[in-house]
Symmetry: C2
Subunit: 590 residues, 2 copies
Amino acid sequence: MLHLNGYKIANPTILARIPREELEALLTGYGHKPYFVEGDDPDTMHQQMAATLERCIGEIRAIQQHARERNDATRPRWPMIVLRSPKGWTGPKEVDGHKVEGSWRAHQVPVLDPVTNSKSLKLVEHWLRSYEPESLFDEAGRLVEELRELAPEGARRISANPHANGGLLCKTLDLPAFRDYAVAVKKPAGSYTSPTEVLGTFLRDVMRNNMTNFRVFGPDETASNKLTAIYEASEKTWLAQTEASDADGGDLATDGRVMEMLSEHTLEGWFEGYVLTGRHGLFATYEAFVHVIDSMFNQHAKWLEKAKRDLGWRQPVPSINLLITSLVWRQDHNGFTHQDPGFLDVVTNKSPDVVRIYLPPDANCLLSVADHCLRSRDYVNVIVADKQPHLQYLDMDAAVTHCTKGIGIWDWASTDQGVEPDVVIACAGDIATMEALAAVEILKARFADLKIRFVNVVDLFRLMPEHAHPHGLSSRDFDSLFTTSKPVIFNFHSYASLVHKLTYNRTNHDNLHVHGYHEKGNINTPLELAIINQVDRFSLAIDVIDRVPALRGVGDHAKEWLRGQIIEHLAYAHAEGIDKEEIRNWTWKG
Amino acid sequence: MLHLNGYKIANPTILARIPREELEALLTGYGHKPYFVEGDDPDTMHQQMAATLERCIGEIRAIQQHARERNDATRPRWPMIVLRSPKGWTGPKEVDGHKVEGSWRAHQVPVLDPVTNSKSLKLVEHWLRSYEPESLFDEAGRLVEELRELAPEGARRISANPHANGGLLCKTLDLPAFRDYAVAVKKPAGSYTSPTEVLGTFLRDVMRNNMTNFRVFGPDETASNKLTAIYEASEKTWLAQTEASDADGGDLATDGRVMEMLSEHTLEGWFEGYVLTGRHGLFATYEAFVHVIDSMFNQHAKWLEKAKRDLGWRQPVPSINLLITSLVWRQDHNGFTHQDPGFLDVVTNKSPDVVRIYLPPDANCLLSVADHCLRSRDYVNVIVADKQPHLQYLDMDAAVTHCTKGIGIWDWASTDQGVEPDVVIACAGDIATMEALAAVEILKARFADLKIRFVNVVDLFRLMPEHAHPHGLSSRDFDSLFTTSKPVIFNFHSYASLVHKLTYNRTNHDNLHVHGYHEKGNINTPLELAIINQVDRFSLAIDVIDRVPALRGVGDHAKEWLRGQIIEHLAYAHAEGIDKEEIRNWTWKG
């Protein structure tokens, strides 16, 4: 139904000011069968509207009956109603000589000064008396019996409609055991796998087990994001025409449960409607373009916070799960336009009651995090995980423990067992983790006595103080992981300043040196891109040498070698268009 | 022209899969007169396309001639061409048994392994030979003379078209003297004025002086944002139907230069196109909803950075000027949905070469900042200034000096002349400044000996280190404003963490305590909203008492009184729906 009342806050609306045949063509072009209800006499309009509604409901029922009896899912032309009535209908016609009813002036309070201006007060009285209150209310001011009876009862009341309080309808997902989808990790950082490809197999079975209340959303990118296994359970919703060639890999179906459309806005809108009516889902999208829905995310987060805090009658609804992929550090032939990890900055501004951010470093961690998110309610969960092949660090048991902690020391990558570390190397995100680990390997080889602690962060809000976010670490825990006085070199997936924003009042913050994306890029090789943003192994190792007092003087030759490495690898990438094999297939020697 | 080649990266397109009459209706509904060029035989299509182009150009010329000769600006139905051709047209028909031409598979590299697979190499050879290279190139590999002659010359080359390098066409704006629009400020913080209303009078005359190369953009909000004076110079572009009542305050004109449409996306797109072709403008929008264009802003900033740094032949283009108004702290009847000052976080992630943020505290500062921004090139300038009546602090001379410095001590609000301060009270933003000033007044009355330094920030990037942003203050300057050891209570317009993000490595950062919006709000009175986010005068004064060593013990009674004030004002706001008169009309006693 389109209520075409002609005006917005300060202007006419476009659809009210184009010729009738153009409007009809537009709505027909959108796939509707429009019916017009037009006028300004309330009694006539009431009859017209009732008759049109009746007719449309009849048509809708006929379409449904046809589809069900003949098993025919051909897209019908659904009826729609264009209700064309004056804006501010039945309000004051004119105020102070200016048209109000049927004008943009009816958008806000039509009479501004009845408290101080008796003429205005008269006007309000005349207006309100036009509704004949004496026939609507009894002497005690109660609505008359005849009208009270019109009010619907039970779930037909708007306030009690379960579809408007979707938690009432929500059924918990029947989730397969995520551990069954684990990647075998015999030794840490010894092999490469695409994390989202693994996730796809889990999501396929989530779909199979929940064919009435789970959907996956994606802007024409489910395949690009390597989630194609899902199509084995359900294809993409497609109600338009089909062609014979669609059968070969088109993955289209009228009852498909994967929602694809190259409009992040439409997808986010669908997804919000879907969870608000109690169903579950996951939205996978390119990292740089999730900013398209910043504003929608903000408003949904605000809605969630109010629903959760202030409206006790609202039942919890499934979370919005955003899988952010096709990440900044691995862009193939795409360049600078596709490098923007800043959505996390937007997310960290919203209420800690409703937002969660996870950066699982590998496929097993991603499975553990995804399972957790799909079980949750009333959050926006942001999961940052790439589609390209990446090093796998943890076997499933270790991954579950690590993700449950949300942050932790990786013993096998550390050299400070039983002693105080000289330096903490921390990281969050897949590539950030790999480069940090490679830096440890370089440092171990050069400085056998250097005591390195290696910390990985999955749950970003662990970095915040516990009073600022429910996931925040206590000072004691934070200080024990990051020390109170040793240099911390933190390699971060996104913009470095975000880590400072979350940790600025931690004890050891003055010694925290964060490396991250700083808006430098092109169509680079992976190592080249890392180097120009200084998140590469060589730059990290140099930073450690600069920050650890014991390495001053001692580390100068190593620094020279590292600088040489940077120059050599940049030159190679420039000449060959790819990184050296030792970089492309680097693994941890341990 | 719509090139309807049927597919995207992984799916058919919707418009290629709806019935022809639906597509025609849709385009007609959009206001076009569509012509279809359809097929897959290159020779036939070439002729068809040439004939259709010819016909359309003829129609366009006829429309223009009619409009000019009859002075008739009635909206015509402009011709459009729908070119329906196969995706990957003339590429390989099939690869490995899968359809490529006329399929989504043609979206990327059609043959993946010609280097390692001889069958694939043959396929590529067959494909490329189909273009008959022997008839296109001579023996030396040069394009044959006959084809070389087809290439256009001079400005008709795409690369040399001045409209694609808009800086070549750009004329400097003829700006009126902004000082002529100054608000009289006899004493600081003694009277209230709407900053944007004042700006409107300046913009009116900017418009008058530049009627061919300046436009103002706004999402149905130019009036709401109090910029109505602009309509005296030019009304809103309106090409749809008009009604008699439009004459009374509709402000519509076929040649209007104010672009209004309730779509921030469309406006930002128009504005970008307008500056990229060398013209100037300003886009005024509600603060909470500027997030709608986050992604477009990101891409424009990336484009600007590359154009500026790497493409020497690109001439500078006028800046995108975003006036962010209807701010978080003054929402009238709007509530939590309209409270989101987080766009600044997105902006601070972009290259320091291309972004600028200004928070002028009053109307005269806003005039000075606006004049500066309209003269600039190759930036996105973000100006944060409200539409509601606000206290006026600086007369025009003082405003110009203050805005030119970008940050400065306000002597008249400070009590530390000639001595070391006990505390620095800093602020950025209109309401943040007023509340900080009111806190100073409270503290002065209670603690006559307290040495307070009052610092106001207009140019937000002054807070960053000089190596990180061209506007950044040197350490020496920063330390001299904020001291190296005294408590700094900073009252900020937006989210508090942004100030920490910009200042985390300043000497005195450990003593910097920022107050700002922290995502708490409803339909509150102004003071109530300030209190629940602790940016109010009382909370600031309490923080000063807590942080200044000399006030410990001494300040306890004052703290009790301040806590009492908070309770009393919240109770009053709750009961009356407005703040007390002493708050609503507070002025600085000096």
